[in-house]
């Protein structure tokens, strides 16, 4: 590569200023919070889920390459183990935000439940005339209630 002749003599001071960094959308709090609300709304009995279940759904949503395989396995005996699933600390962080913002509450047996406000938020997303989060919503709707807490515990733990 050719070196560029830089007029260093002419420069007396160099200033460095920080530039904002790009950030993958999945690291924005509102994106994760919205997904958590959607999972609780569409995939959980009485809109309540354990941390394990939320992590499981996060894993599916995050692995577009695996989605077909995972979905196929859901119909039969699954082969998932806890080691296979990527446990994502971002989920816990997003849960903290969601809890602080009163979207979810924590039940007696340490599960997460969608609050009234959470329902409102999820409904706004689901009733949007522009299909916001359409891919994610389609996937969640296809899976539906097939992943129960009991099944997850039996197969994963």
């Amino acid at each position: 590569m050719k070196a560029i002749d830089f007029p260093f003599q002419a420069i007396s001071t160099l200033t460095f200023s920080p530039r904002p960094q790009p950030l993958p959308a999945s690291l924005r709090p509102v994106y994760r919070i919205a997904l958590i609300a959607l999972v609780l709304k569409t995939n959980c009995r009485s809109n309540t889920a354990s941390l394990l279940k939320l992590q499981f759904f996060n894993w599916i949503l995050k692995s577009p390459g695996l989605q077909g395989l995972i979905e196929g396995r859901l119909a039969t005996q699954s082969i998932f183990t806890l080691e296979l699933i990527h446990l994502d600390p971002m989920v816990n962080l997003a849960l903290k935000y969601a809890f602080a913002d009163n979207l979810i509450s924590v039940t007696g047996n340490s599960k997460y439940k969608l609050t009234e406000k959470g329902h409102e938020f999820a409904d706004r997303i689901l009733q949007d005339e522009q299909p916001v989060l359409s891919k994610e919503r389609q996937l969640l709707e296809r899976i539906g209630q097939r992943v129960s807490e009991v099944r997850l515990r039996n197969e994963l733990l």
Partner: protein
């Protein structure tokens, strides 16, 4: 003027018998006077409803009409229940043709149905001899489909609505709903600002500006449309050029050569003829035409050999040897090409994966924008970058970043730039790949031919025949090769012809582009805008506008709204001055349209203009200003609840048509 409202009638069938109201209008100033809560707005809203313009009230269908027209009302202490109701608006166009527009409110009839009676039903008495045509409003296509009421209305009134661009989809006529907020000032929301009842874009780009441009009949609409057409044609030309260039490059790769002298984008002049450079054995570069000549010479030579003595075995040995060497080299080259192709494909796959990821991420970022709106509506703190617990500002990121994270908008444009770069890389890679594939195909053929030749030479050596099989086969191959090259050459020439045609189209397109006016506004446009500025300033001064110096007010060329020293004046002026501005602006549009051949319908409706405890002198000035205009040119309908005394004093000495309704507008009807 394009429309003259002759009369409006409300007809209610109630459990107490028929109720209703009739209003007859003249040219010039019309004043509907009635007490507060007497049902004036029921009349005005009813007129909008009849025209299918109820969206100006902010609602669709019967919801937009006042309850007295569809549920319960009272008169003289007696309540009545509405069983069935309808409104009738009798209007004439500029040619004097009269129609009556009838639309149903309560009852069995579909609210989306509009009946057009071709005759003066209200003023001329009920007549069954008139033709009745059904139309629809309030569903998609009302402006365009044959049975759409607004399409009929536009034709009847000769509105000449321009076809305008939408954000997506095809062009549509500028909807009447977009123009009407400049002429019909409705009571509830109409007085909050200029075009206040234009609350949605209908998918039309800069709809608010277009509405004003249309009313003033500015040339910019036409110019802007031409500009867009020319740009679109330019894009099509670029697209066609790319397609032809690709197929030329494909032909070049078929003969194992490279396309020369075709720029990547359209040009005004093709500097040199396009040609195909064939690198024979990776050495010197020859044009395809020369290659053909060389092949033909070879064919001639070898057919000479055929008749001569069969070569001796020594010579055969030597040729076999050289051919085997050639085969080795060719095979090595072929395997090199294969591995090049594989790595190119790998690279492309990676790039495509990355592109897909970026596209997904752009989608997600767009989703986040909407999610934030929902979050704000639901009252979440996180979406406002505030900690829900301690209310301090937080980063919009789940991981701590060293420097600041980009905002969502910025992130999207960042990703878009990246996507564009990757798309460029991909198209360059694809081009390289086709070239490599072409070279591979050529090389495989060479290898196959060499193998066959070697086999033939071997059998010639063994059998010692009179006729060399190898020589004959070589001839056949040459013959085939020549035919194929000739075909490709012809195809190439055809494409070159098409390329020249595109050059012509491009010249035409660029010529049209250069003919577009440099200045956005035409001279006529400037005259109209200057007149609007002047007229507006004159009006508001008459009406007693105080907030800023009137001399500093003018109409912005950016959005056609009043500005004061380049700042939009809507904010920061007193409430009553906002009202004066709306009076002044709405009237100025009418006046300038009349004096400069604009497209104003010639009708203005003010529902309760005396808002915000307006000073009496201001209202006096408004009425006087309207009354001094030529009554045959226009119609202004004012609904007011100012007292009888004030109104009659105000109208004294002014030409006017007063409709006095007193306590109740809707009354029992006499038979």
């Amino acid at each position: 003027m394009r429309i003259r409202i002759h009369a409006f009638r409300v007809i209610l069938a109630t459990n107490q018998g028929p109720y209703g109201a009739t209003a007859l209008f003249d040219g010039g100033l019309n004043v509907i006077r009635a007490e507060n809560t007497s049902g004036k707005s029921a009349l005005i809203n009813g007129m909008l409803y009849a025209l299918g313009l109820e969206i100006l009230v902010g609602k669709r269908g019967v919801e937009a009409t006042k309850p007295v027209l569809r549920t319960i009302g009272d008169y003289d202490g007696q309540e009545f229940n509405v069983l069935e109701s309808s409104v009738e608006l009798e209007v004439a166009n500029s040619k004097g043709d009269v129609i009556t527009i009838r639309r149903y409110i309560a009852g069995e009839r579909d609210e989306r149905l509009v009946e057009v009676v071709h005759g003066p039903v209200v003023t001329g008495g009920q007549g069954s001899q008139y033709k009745v045509e059904p139309f629809f409003v309030g569903i998609g296509g009302a402006a365009q489909r044959e049975r759409g009421f607004h399409r009929f209305l536009a034709e009847f009134l000769e509105l000449e609505l321009p076809y305008v661009k939408r954000f997506r989809g095809e062009d549509v006529p500028l909807y009447v709903e977009c123009v009407a907020p400049l002429m019909f000032i409705e009571q509830i929301r109409g007085w909050s600002g200029i075009q206040a009842t234009l609350t949605q874009s209908y998918g039309i780009r800069s709809v608010a500006r277009l509405a004003v441009e249309h009313i003033l009949n500015l040339d910019v609409i036409e110019n802007e449309k031409r500009r867009i057409q020319i740009t679109e044609e330019a894009n099509r030309i670029r697209e066609d050029w790319r397609g032809i260039r690709e197929s030329m490059a494909y032909i070049a790769s078929q003969v194992g050569g490279r396309l020369m002298n075709v720029p990547t984008g359209p040009v005004l002049v093709l500097p040199d003829d396009p040609w195909i450079a064939v690198s024979a054995d990776g050495e010197d570069v020859t044009p395809l035409a020369d290659l053909l000549v060389a092949k033909r010479c070879l064919l001639l030579e070898s057919s000479g050999e055929e008749t001569s003595e069969v070569a001796g075995s020594e010579e055969l040995e030597a040729r076999l040897d050289s051919q085997e060497n050639e085969l080795l080299v060719a095979q090595a080259e072929l395997s090199q090409l294969r591995s090049d192709i594989r790595s190119e494909e790998d690279e492309l796959r990676k790039l495509r994966d990355r592109l897909n990821f970026i596209k997904d991420d752009i989608q997600r970022n767009n989703d986040i924008k909407r999610l934030r709106n929902f979050g704000v509506e639901t009252g979440l703190s996180v979406v406002q970058d505030r900690c829900p617990t301690c209310n301090q500002s937080i980063q919009d990121s789940l991981v701590p970043t060293e420097s600041m994270a980009m905002g969502v908008e910025e992130n999207i444009s960042f990703l878009q730039t990246e996507a564009e770069a990757i798309e460029l890389l991909i198209s360059a890679g694809e081009e390289r790949l086709t070239r490599l594939e072409g070279r591979k195909a050529g090389k495989s053929k060479v290898v196959a031919n060499l193998r066959v030749t070697i086999r033939d030479l071997r059998s010639d050596l063994l059998e010692n025949r009179d006729l060399s099989v190898a020589a004959i086969r070589e001839q056949v191959h040459l013959q085939e090769e020549i035919t194929r090259l000739e075909q490709l050459r012809d195809e190439f020439e055809e494409q070159t012809g098409r390329l020249r045609h595109i050059v012509e189209r491009w010249q035409e397109n660029r010529a049209m582009h250069s003919e577009l006016p440099d200045d956005y506004f035409s001279d006529d446009d400037r005259r109209k805008l200057a007149a609007l500025s002047e007229c507006f300033a004159k009006n508001v001064e008459l009406f007693g506008y105080r907030s800023t110096g009137v001399s500093r007010l003018h109409i912005s060329e950016d959005n056609y709204r009043p500005v004061c020293d380049e700042f939009e004046v809507a904010l920061g002026v007193s409430a009553s001055d906002t009202i004066r501005m709306i009076w002044g602006y709405t009237l100025a549009l009418l006046q300038v349209s009349l004096s400069h051949q604009g497209n104003h319908w010639g009708v203005v409706v003010f529902d309760e203009p005396e808002q915000q405890k307006m000073r009496e002198t201001s209202s006096d000035a408004l009425y006087a200003e309207i009354a001094q205009m030529q009554p045959q040119d226009f119609q202004v309908i004012i609904a007011t609840s100012a007292s009888v005394d004030v109104t009659s004093k105000r109208l004294d000495n002014l030409p006017h048509n007063l409709l006095e309704f007193g306590e109740k507008v809707i009354r029992p009807m006499q038979h």
